[in-house]
């Protein structure tokens, strides 16, 4: 019972590089989400997806791209990383019945 996993768990990159964070869930949940966690802000929604091939922007989408070709995967790409994107990134999934989101373990990303 893997649940929801994220990879890598830690990543250091340089300004301007492209970075992709992976998220995989085994529950066949229809909804998936990406949040970033920064001191003083709690968690803020970057992008979400209601189903395969359906994605929409959250509160802080600028500088990020997502795709969802398969229900179980929801990768997040930083096309040209900036220092302000240094953060902890959480992926989550939920079904439409209980409306409870289950979170992955997080990825700590540092942009130098």
């Amino acid at each position: 019972d893997a649940g929801i996993t994220q990879s890598p768990r830690y990543k250091i990159t340089e300004t301007g590089r492209q970075v992709t964070l992976m998220c995989h869930q085994t529950w066949s949940h229809s909804y998936m989400f990406w949040y970033r966690q920064d001191l003083g802000h709690g968690l803020r929604l970057i992008y979400y997806s209601a189903a395969a091939d359906i994605t929409d922007k959250g509160e802080v989408p600028d500088g990020y791209v997502v795709s969802r070709s398969k229900t179980e995967n929801f990768p997040l790409t930083l096309e040209s990383a900036t220092r302000s994107q240094t953060s902890v990134y959480f992926c989550a999934s939920s079904d439409s019945v209980r409306n409870e989101q289950f979170f992955g373990p997080g990825t700590r990303l540092t942009v130098l």
């Binding site: 709690g42 968690l43 803020r44 979400y48 959250g58 289950f102 997080g106």
Partner: protein
């Protein structure tokens, strides 16, 4: 847009004491959900308790209970008989009910709770 405010950045109590964490929110919605999540030092986000706005009865989960005041838009978390393992960051969160996209969570800034031995 909905907002969630946690006015206590940090709290500290002794083991076995009862502690209450505050949360207020702002919304024009009538149907919604409220949640408390716990984030221990491991960083994992763990759901503690949830409340449906249409239910007048306050939710309870073992030592955790909420005081939901819909008219005041207040949703506090009470932890009874606190344990060392309760030491964590606690986040209050709001979710709209219904329409597409309604699964989105809006989080407060968090309260860092420390349980002292």
């Amino acid at each position: 847009a909905q907002t969630v405010t946690q006015s206590q950045p940090e709290m500290s109590v002794q083991e076995a004491e009862t502690v209450t964490l505050s949360c207020t929110y702002d919304t024009s919605e009538n149907n919604y959900y409220l949640f408390w999540y716990k984030q221990p030092p491991s960083r994992q986000m763990i759901l503690v308790i949830r409340q449906e706005a249409y239910k007048q009865q306050n939710a309870t989960e073992n030592r955790f209970s909420v005081n939901f005041q819909k008219a005041a838009k207040s949703f506090s978390l009470k932890i009874s008989d606190s344990q060392l393992g309760d030491t964590a960051m606690y986040f209050c969160a709001f979710m709209k009910h219904g329409a597409q996209g309604a699964q989105k969570l809006v989080f407060g800034q968090g309260t860092r709770l420390t349980i002292n031995p």
